[in-house]
Subunit: 255 residues, 2 copies
């Protein structure tokens, strides 16, 4: 899907497939080669890696400038510290393409969805369900940078329902099928559903279907906006991966 | 004050003072020298630096293992990603001395204060006022790691008062004298006041006095616990700086 998307927009992409028993050294050698190749502007380590590989060692080996996934520690750190640290440049968080480092794709896609849908983020109460490094934490930081007042709900939150009821914007990224019900939501809330959960569906050909963290059918009437699963956030993730890669190339070219 | 504290606990400390017109190269050379010196376990760049110096360039030059201030991007990144990223080691956030990287001193001191005062953090609603990289963001992350449900209030928050009223634990780190009043607080809330603000006091010898972000006199009766300014968080910051330095030495010694 990612390769197809690259082709559509004119990005040359090439993949390197390895057997299950690949060594960490082989992977690191390939990453080093791609880091050094000036024709390469983006490197994506497809996760998960086999269990004998230290995943962080490989993802951290990607040069931060080519880390179009936005998962390198340096890029994570910039997302936390870029706005307010003494001596740092003030970022324009309203124009994500202008941010001079890579932001993780799914979180970036959530913000883009809100912007393109005309949702005003500034000053709103945003509740993020889930605190993973891939989605929950970075999307919380982005919403904070956009001046939402963020609250992070997780498995240890007492009475998650009443916390979510405070939200103007809900981002559900917890991985629990249909956890969020209509009575969890304030009337007119905006809901971004990042969850992709497989549930049994004996009546279907595959025997399962994919559903979000939000009970779409129940919540649809209560929200002002809601993203479907599949088809909502998923395509945005790929679009942001392409954006990061294009931005990387533009920065190298100085344009 | 820091040097005195070092002496008390048996840490050798030595300072290097520079004139206002010091060059960035000179500072970077000194940092490189101290990075390379195996007898040095902690390096502290005293901020602010003169305006012709790129502050981030100097603080980022300190080796992360010796960054006892916890401000290096690598240490910031670890604070965001350490707990939940695939492939990472699970941290024991209940024992901050066991964390294998440096955590910023003031935020760490806030958690230590809560722990030493017997405040249960898990599952509580914590509202952090202020989102600076020095205090607000890292203390938010620490409270999240300790399983509080965090909300970050800032200058763009609509109705900060009603948000703070939800909090079991309030950390005020915004730098506005006496912003938090008694009617901002839930009965029995725990309040950590990080603010240090200078207000005019013509009746005093100095002509000013230091007050916190919380109106201590007004709030004292409503909280279950509250830290004074000065004398609350301040001494903890220095204590955590010493802890980071000792931990750094222990890690090098493998004990």
């Amino acid at each position: 899907m990612k390769k197809k998307a690259c082709k559509e927009v004119g990005i040359d992409s090439f993949g390197f497939d390895y057997p299950e028993d690949v060594t960490q050294e082989e992977l690191l050698a390939k990453v080093a080669e791609l880091n050094a190749d000036p024709k390469v502007h983006g490197i994506l380590v497809q996760l998960p890696l086999p269990s004998h590989i230290v995943e962080n060692a490989v993802t951290s080996a990607v040069h931060p400038d080519k880390d179009v996934d936005g998962l390198h520690p340096v890029n994570c750190a910039k997302l936390v510290t870029a706005q307010t640290h003494g001596g740092s440049v003030k970022m324009n968080w309203k124009e994500l393409s202008s941010i001079p480092f890579h932001i993780a794709c799914t979180p970036q896609g959530c913000i883009e969805l809100l912007d393109r849908s005309g949702v005003d983020i500034e000053g709103k109460r945003a509740v993020i369900i889930g605190r993973s490094n891939l989605v929950g934490m970075p999307v919380s930081l982005l919403l904070n940078h956009r001046n939402a007042t963020i609250t992070i709900v997780h498995s240890r939150t007492a009475d998650a329902k009443s916390v979510v009821q405070e939200a103007d914007i809900v981002v559900a990224a917890v991985g629990r099928a249909h956890m969020v019900k209509a009575d969890w939501l304030k009337e007119g809330a905006v809901v971004i559903d990042v969850g992709i959960n497989s549930v049994d569906a004996p009546d279907t050909k595959k025997g399962y279907r994919l559903v979000g963290d939000v009970d779409f059918k129940e919540c649809e009437g209560k929200c002002s906006k809601i993203t479907p699963v599949p088809g909502g956030v998923g395509p945005m993730t790929i679009a942001m991966l392409l954006r990061n890669t294009v931005n990387s190339a533009k920065r190298v070219a100085g344009i």
